[in-house]
Amino acid sequence: MDTFVVSLLNGAVYGLLLFMVSAGLTLIFGMMGVLNFAHASFYMLGAYFAYALEGTLGFWGALVASPFLVMGFGVAVERYFLRRVHHHGHAHELLLTFGLAFICAELIKLFFGNYPVNYRIPQAIDFAAFTVGSVGYPAYRVFMGGVALAMFGLMYLLLARTRVGIVVRSAIYKPRMVEALGHNVPVVFMGVFGVGAGLAGLAGAVAGAFYTTNPNMALELGAMVFVVVVVGGLGSLEGAMLASLLIGVVTSLAVSIDLSLADLLAHVGARDWAEAVGGLFTLKVSSLAATLPFALMLLVLLVRPGGLLGEKP
């Protein structure tokens, strides 16, 4: 029972982290129709910037500064790269961001080497926040979840309660009309892109210290984030939240399940046959943990192609 609660909490925290990255992606997509392939690279850059600044600014200083650096980088990408190719169409923008993601990964390898770097949480905050049964629950995980929730709350308030939020939401809905009313829509786009990048950078800076920081982290998370937005429905923040939590919890719970299809088939007396076939049948669910989200995505595509909370295609 204790392990169940712990994995549930772990899954929720991982899900919140996924949400931090996918929220920016979804917002950018909803606004500009651009699927930003480089979005997960912003996550990676956040972690690496925080690692590089840790020596001079200290852990907390780096945690604050790194998202702003990533935000500046995101603004530059929008202003000098994406805007230039905008008239070529969305496929072109997608390819350009793909190339940028590729360059980001290679540059990180150039500057920091093709191996995990030693970016860790400081000893001072490496303690248990509370105990579940006999297991201590790390405070840093609680902190990660808290950051994600605070960010969700702030973003919701900003979008739903402020004047800026109204302009942003209407720019998503009817950009030309908003422009005609005298708002500078390109600047709004640039701002949203920058904020989205900054959020991904914050997620990277926070999570990089807890998980590993290596040049492959963008790709690993990127594929998962795409799964989140397909499952949740592109452009829907609530969908992204739901799908992130679902995937986080499913992956985390699966790790602790020591069962295979053969065990299931044993109930109908087909264990020997299943074990003789081998392959997928004798594979433990725990080793499938990384695969389950993708299978979930295929399932969602099968029964609800628009995503859980997305509109009907």
Binding site: F29, G33, L35, F37, F81, R84, V85, H87, H88, G89, H90, A91, H92, E93, L94, L95, L96, F98, G99, L100, F102, I103, E106, L107, K109, L110, F111, F112, G113, L219, G222, A223, F226, V227, V229, V230, L234, G278, G279, L280, L283, S287, L288, A290, T291, F294, A295, M297, L298, L301, L302, P305, P313
Partner: protein, 433 residues
């Protein structure tokens, strides 16, 4: 038109002759590179069937390449190492596996179009990538599967030359098939998918079914490429499903140019050759390739092949002699830009390498020791070290502006009406997504 067709015919015939003569001209190492180039060319063309012709951007084509490779290695290992079919026909196993897996994956992926499609293909590739190491029976776990090529029809297939001819025959046959495909009604339908799938639906075609068919065919040819790779290497590992391999055909196809049939093949051959040629000199080849890709996406979206045709058209309009200065300026700008970039990247690469950092930490008297690069020692603290790349890049920029101005004034002088800006090849592909 007839003249250009005949030109193309001659060029292709010359290319085939060159390919046939290649084993007598090259060393074993270079011949091996030629095999890799041929395989990459086929993979890129198979990818282009989906991406360039049908307008569906896939980011997970390594899945079908890998499946084809593993099917071929198992066919090679079957019947106690004797092989399911004689060695020359082994890639057929890759083709069958690619077709089957491609049809299944394509059925899911083509349920959505555009952006969703891209994400789903990526996720399917990652699904296989994460699953493969756990399925030891099929993919051999971390160590992979290996087998031996068996002699067939009196040919031993022991030497690189034999494998080269086998690969060449398969690649040429597949490229011919892919070219003939574009001439069939189905090939025209494929273009229709890219241009306007709604209209196809209104004409009574089942768009989903056509998309799945095109997807499966593209996966089949990718599977053949994977099979050829295995015939060459006699081993396969789950690393084949890596994202790096999915990125390769995307980069190759767009660098070469997706609007010309052989564009992706040319891009793939060039990139693979340079990758082989510079692999000893630099660790940053992928970075250069990425930079080239982004530059091409930003400034010449129709790729190298498109650039070539545009230059040829311009030359035909203004005459060779008058085109020369502009072309020379453009080429030297490109060379200077390349030189400046390479210098900067290589310098940084050496400065941030692990052994240099250790050296810098150990040196007490001089905190920043010099680095050896291009036959000279460069001090990281000296101004001229950074002045060289800056000067190269600045000169490249100035020359680029001059070249642009030359081309523009000359175009206006010969074409008083003023030719409108070049058409954008991906605009149509983009609007359908």
């Amino acid at each position: 038109m007839i003249r250009s067709t005949r030109h193309a015919g001659f060029a292709v015939a010359a290319l085939v002759l060159l390919l046939v003569a290649l084993p007598h001209l090259l060393s074993q190492g270079l011949l091996n590179a030629a095999i890799q180039m041929l395989i990459a060319a086929l993979f890129a063309c198979a990818y282009n069937l989906l991406c360039g012709q049908a307008g569906m951007l896939s980011f997970g084509h390594a899945a079908y390449f890998g499946v084809g490779a593993f099917a071929t290695i198992h066919a090679m290992k079957a019947l106690g190492g004797a092989g399911l079919v004689p060695t020359p026909f082994l890639p057929l196993a890759g083709a069958a596996a690619g077709l089957a897996v491609g049809a299944a994956a394509g059925w899911f992926a083509t349920k959505r179009s555009g952006t969703y499609f891209a994400m789903i293909t990526l996720a399917i590739a990652e699904l296989l990538h994460s699953l493969a190491p756990h399925l030891k029976g099929w993919f051999g776990g971390e160590s992979g599967v290996s087998a031996m090529r068996m002699p067939a029809f009196g040919i031993s297939f022991g030497s690189t030359t034999h494998v080269y001819y086998l690969t060449m025959a398969w690649v040429l046959a597949c490229l011919a098939a892919l070219y003939l495909y574009t001439r069939t009604p189905l090939g025209r339908l494929t273009l229709g998918l890219r241009e306007n799938s709604h209209r196809l639906a209104f004409l009574g075609y089942d768009v989903h079914r056509v998309s799945v068919l095109v997807f499966a065919l593209s996966a089949m040819f990718s599977g053949i490429a994977g099979g050829l790779q295995v015939v060459n290497n006699e081993a396969a590992n789950y690393v084949l499903f890596d994202m790096q391999l999915s990125a390769a055909p995307v980069l190759h196809a767009f660098i070469g140019g997706v609007k010309v049939f052989l564009g992706p093949a040319i891009g793939a051959a060039l990139m693979t050759f340079f990758g082989y040629a510079v692999s000893d000199l630099t660790q940053s080849w992928l970075l250069y390739q990425g930079i080239l890709f982004v530059l091409i996406m930003m400034f010449m979206p129709d790729g190298l092949a498109g650039l070539w045709f545009r230059c040829a058209a311009w030359r035909a309009r203004v005459g060779t002699l008058r085109a020369m200065p502009g072309l020379l300026a453009a080429i030297s700008a490109a060379l200077l830009l390349a030189a400046g970039t390479v210098f900067t990247v290589e310098l940084l690469q050496r400065l941030f390498a692990q052994d240099y950092r250790a050296l810098a930490r150990a040196a007490v008297t001089q905190p920043w020791p010099s680095v050896h690069l291009f036959g000279r020692d460069w001090l990281p603290g000296a101004v001229e070290t950074w002045l060289v790349p800056l000067a190269l890049l600045a000169a490249a920029g100035v020359l680029a502006v001059i070249a642009k101005r030359m081309v523009r004034t000359m175009s206006y002088a010969t074409e008083p009406r003023g030719v409108t800006a070049s058409t954008t090849p991906l605009a149509q592909a983009g609007s359908s997504t």
